[in-house]
């Protein structure tokens, strides 16, 4: 699904990722943990194609194409989805209009026919129930005035509609209380399929109580320094990151 080899990337001339390797197979859930500043969010941004990041080395292949050659919208159409840590507010852009535009853009990219309004509304109703989201939010501007939990749910709703092959959840747990976290995690779990891969980028183990990962990786100083199963996350919870950073240094 995703193969990252020796990826290096810098921001404003400062190298953040320093030869990162990661293999994600179909249907696998990978958690990427690490201390602040280790490069977790940079990895998510580089994969999604945000500008301001310069890839200085290595290779990323996604479903057998060179991901770095694609524009952000082409990556989305190719099946990549990033759930933002800080979902962006779009004043004046209606949420329903936005979601329909996005879905049809991705469907066109997949060679599928566009959905008309009736078919779209039916599908949306179904997906809204999945993430337990109030239908009134569909009439509002995208994320504008949404609570933290509503914004994250809106991200998962987009994921449910766009049905990506690979979803990257960037600090999805940040700013959520325990109830909101549970609802968001349940949404993600319902979207798990034998084909769909997920990368969870998170600082805390907390999210992994709700979404069980197959693999846990520790990112420190721009590299994956340790990989294991779920027990690694528990170990990090107990011992913190310091021992691993020391071991990696």
């Amino acid at each position: 699904m995703l193969s990252i080899k020796k990826l290096s990337a810098s921001v404003d001339g400062k190298e953040i990722l320093k030869g990162l390797d990661l293999e994600v197979g179909a249907g696998e859930v990978h958690a990427i943990m690490g201390p602040n500043g280790s490069g977790k969010s940079t990895l998510a941004h580089v994969l999604s194609g945000r500008s301001g990041y310069e890839v200085t080395g290595g290779e990323v292949r996604f479903r057998d194409v060179d991901l770095m050659e694609l524009e952000p919208e082409e990556r989305a159409r190719a099946g990549l989805f990033l759930a933002f840590q800080y979902p962006v507010e779009l004043p004046g852009v209606n949420n329903t209009v936005f979601l329909k535009e996005a879905l049809n853009a991705v469907r066109r990219g997949r060679g599928e026919p566009e959905l008309d309004s009736v078919a779209f509304m039916k599908l949306m109703k179904e997906k809204l129930a999945l993430v337990n989201m109030r239908p009134e939010l569909m009439k509002r501007s995208v994320n504008a005035g949404f609570s933290g939990g509503e914004k994250k749910r809106n991200e998962i709703l987009q994921m449910a509609l766009l049905e990506p092959a690979l979803a990257i959840l960037d600090e999805t747990d940040s700013g959520l209380d325990i109830d909101a976290l549970r609802i968001v995690a349940e949404g993600v779990n319902k979207l798990r399929t034998p084909e769909r891969s997920v990368i969870l980028v998170t600082h805390y183990q907390r999210l992994l109580d709700y979404i069980q990962p197959d693999f846990v990786h520790v990112l420190a100083n721009g590299r994956i320094v340790r990989s294991g199963d779920k027990s690694l996350a528990l170990e990090l919870e107990q011992k913190g990151y310091a021992w691993i950073e020391e071991a990696a240094a």
Partner: protein, 443 residues
């Protein structure tokens, strides 16, 4: 020194002096004569005048505009009306190249408490009704284009709602330009009068059926009696070669409420001047405006809001979108006179600039002579937000569509002030179309 614009001024003055208005009542002849004299003594404004510093009048020297002689009304049929989005429910007055088109207008205007007629018809049949509104003191302050309108006006809408009357359906004034062989010069003059306690919605539109070259120099006066409430919705969608100048003069008596929603989207050169005077206490005015300055288009808004009496509130919120080599001018003046205590005035102008070659000159001005007031003004000039663009693109939406969605989102802040859904949707569609037209940037 004789420049093309000065020569144009002399030519226009000749045109005014020569215009025959034999059927005018005496007071109207007098009014026109005074206007011609006024125009002659002042001439067309030069770029040295502060009000015209950023807005060139060169086009008057380039094209020999003349009042249209042929009656083109017959060329406009039901199908054209459909294309212009004229909905069946409204009370409607249609003008084609400045002349009343009765076959396109709704005939059923005989209703208690409502007069909806053409100005030409009133001049002929009931000039006394008009005299007070046309010859009132408000005309004395008009600028030279106002004088030109008085001298050359032939027709327009006359709307009067009697005291205490509420008109539920919108009253639409639709001005259509067909574009003729010669550059047309048209002077619509509309009067809207709401007597004490009256309520109404007036829609004022300027549309075109062809990409004609013409100059519409329109004047609209709005007179609100005590406690009257008016929603005034304007949509300017002139031809891409059309020149549009429009003076809107509003007077508000005690406790009246005026809400203007206006969108200026068309024309190659468009200027709207709003003069609003509070003449009684406790009146409120809300002005929501949107202007587009697309490639090589000039869009100018001048506001002159006068708080002359205490306890009135006004809000002026104007948004502009500039693209290609578009140019916009916003000059918003709010005056708070010495006696106008407890005034509340909020003036805002926000501009979204999509191109390096576009330019906006914005000048919000608060002139405050009272000491117990709540006033603010603010201006922004910005570009599309990169984070917003990336968010849309990360969902599969291409960057052109993403730009367009964000522009429409910006415009929505103004367009939601339209109470008429059909008008708002028409404005949105027009804007979307203008924004998809590739700009000529860098060519």
């Amino acid at each position: 020194m004789s420049t093309p614009v000065v020569e144009a001024g002399s030519r226009l003055a000749e045109l005014m002096s020569g215009a025959a208005h034999e059927r005018d009542p005496q007071w109207m002849k007098h009014l026109r004569g005074r206007a011609v004299k006024d125009f002659r003594s002042r001439g067309l404004p030069s770029a040295r005048e502060e009000n015209w510093r950023y807005t060139t009048l060169d086009f008057l020297g380039k094209h020999a505009f003349v009042p249209p002689t042929d009656d083109e009304a017959a060329t406009v049929d039901a199908r054209s009306m459909d294309a212009l989005g004229a909905d069946a429910g409204a009370i409607r007055l249609v003008f084609v190249n400045g002349r009343f088109a009765s076959h396109l207008s709704t005939a059923d205007t005989a209703r208690d408490g409502l007069v909806v007629r053409s100005v030409a018809e009133r001049l002929e049949n009931d000039p006394a009704m008009l005299e007070h509104h046309l010859a009132g003191p408000k005309n004395e302050e008009a600028d030279v284009f106002g004088a030109m309108n008085t001298a050359l006006m032939e027709d327009g809408a006359f709307v009067r709602v009697a005291a205490g009357t509420r008109i539920p359906e919108p009253i639409e004034i639709l001005h259509i330009s067909t574009g003729g062989d010669r550059p047309g010069l048209v002077h619509p003059h509309h009067c809207v009068v709401l007597e004490a306690g009256a309520e109404a919605t007036v829609i004022e539109r300027y549309a075109a059926l062809a990409e004609g070259l013409y100059f519409n120099n329109a004047v609209t006066t709005v007179d609100l009696g005590e406690g009257a409430r008016l929603r005034h919705e304007r949509l300017q969608e002139e031809s891409p070669n059309g020149y549009h100048l429009s003076a809107l003069r509003v007077r508000q008596a005690q406790g009246s409420a005026y809400h203007l929603a206006t969108a200026s989207l068309g024309g190659i050169w468009a200027r709207t001047g709003v003069t609003l005077a509070f003449e009684g206490e406790g009146a409120t005015a809300e002005l929501d405006g949107l202007y587009l300055a697309g490639d090589r288009q000039l869009s100018d808004v001048h506001l002159d809001v006068r708080h002359q009496v205490p306890g009135c509130a006004s809000r002026e919120t104007f948004r502009g979108i500039l693209d290609g080599r578009g140019r916009a001018v916003f000059d918003g003046r709010v005056l708070v006179a010495k006696d106008a205590q407890k005034t509340d005035a909020q003036l805002a102008n926000d501009n979204l600039v999509l191109s390096r070659n576009a330019e906006v000159d914005t000048k919000p001005q608060l002139e405050i002579y009272a000491d117990d007031v709540r006033c603010s003004h603010g201006t922004t000039v910005g570009q599309l937000d990169e984070n917003m663009l990336f968010y849309l693109r990360s969902r599969g939406i291409d960057s052109d569509t993403a730009r367009q969605m964000l522009c429409l989102g910006f415009a929505a802040g103004s367009l939601e002030a339209f109470s008429s859904d059909s008008l708002r949707e028409r404005a949105e569609a027009l804007l979307a179309r203008r924004l998809t037209t590739p700009s000529k940037e860098g060519v």
